[in-house]
């Protein structure tokens, strides 16, 4: 209870601590991380939250990366984990991936695995039957 309260206190601070927003379009959930940076301070929480969604039965996901300006290897590891849990790139697409983020996908050859589309519409469309 005390811990809960402390968490809430931090969340109402000046920093936007909201981690992500979720929208639904048909069978697709569109997840938009509300962080500029997906690094080791956020990667585990991010992976857990998205994996929980998948385990609740959400089978198709778009990651809208519009807010993300930086990702490191732990952030990328989280995204790869999510991809594994959801069963591959026919169930997960990315959109609005900034150059600084794309660079890390390229350095690790992950741009060959992930389907990265220019905008949300196309990212959603690709997942629809």
């Amino acid at each position: 209870m005390t811990l809960e309260n402390i968490t809430i206190k931090l969340n109402v601070g000046s920093k936007k601590m909201e981690n992500m927003t979720i929208k639904h379009q048909g069978a697709v959930a569109i997840i938009e991380p509300q962080r500029k940076r997906i690094d080791a301070s956020f990667a585990i929480k991010f992976r857990e939250d998205v994996v929980a969604l998948v385990e609740q039965g959400q089978k198709k996901l778009v990651l809208n990366m519009t807010n993300v300006e930086f990702i490191d290897s732990s952030g990328l590891g989280a995204v790869v984990s999510i991809m594994k849990v959801i069963g591959g790139n026919q169930n997960l697409t990315l959109c609005y991936v900034k150059d600084s983020v794309l660079a890390v996908f390229k350095l690790t050859r992950m741009d060959k695995i992930f389907i990265i589309l220019p905008n949300e519409e196309e990212a959603v469309a690709r997942l629809q039957p």
């Binding site: 930086f70 490191d72 290897s73 890390v104 690790t108 695995i113």
Partner: protein, 159 residues
């Protein structure tokens, strides 16, 4: 090769407590200084990535038992390169870790999900984006030294 000695333009030292919450600051500072010092946007992102990976490792492994110990970051911008030192008083990195990080973690099979890596990429990424990576541990202080060359270095002749 240019034979003239590098001219130190500016040097800055940053000290943070070894907490993951501080990583964002370190990354933001590194990126802005690199880009203000003449590195391209892409190089600045690479430098930011290397520094974030290195500082994260120090916090995750080196300072595991010393959660409130400091990490020092020193950035020296020379005319033709940037020298970065990340140093701490924690547990040193195992001697073979840097050598082991040979990029083979990225030799996974695209069509075989089981081979895709979800960790173990940090040191390989640092080596991929930096022109030189050296590690030393002396008198309890561990130092990772990274060098990134300026893109625009051209082999000028001294007149």
């Amino acid at each position: 090769m240019n034979s003239s000695p590098a001219v130190a333009n500016s040097h800055i030292k940053l000290t943070i407590e070894g907490r993951l919450a501080n990583i964002g600051m370190v990354g933001a500072v590194t990126r802005i200084l690199s880009s203000e010092s003449g590195f391209s946007v892409m190089s600045s992102t690479e430098i930011e990535l290397a520094v974030v990976e290195a500082v994260t490792n120090v916090i995750k492994y080196g300072l595991l038992e010393l959660p409130s110990s400091d990490v020092e970051l020193s950035l020296t911008y020379y005319e033709q390169y940037l020298a970065i030192e990340i140093s701490d008083l924690g547990i040193p990195m195992p001697s073979q870790a840097l050598e082991d990080a040979d990029g083979s973690v990225f030799d996974y099979l695209e069509h075989d999900m089981d081979t895709w890596p979800t960790s173990g990429m940090g040191l390989s990424l640092i080596k991929a984006v930096m022109d030189r990576v050296e590690y030393s541990s002396m008198n309890g202080r561990n130092t990772l030294r990274l060098i990134k060359l300026m893109e625009s270095v051209d082999a000028t002749t001294d007149s």
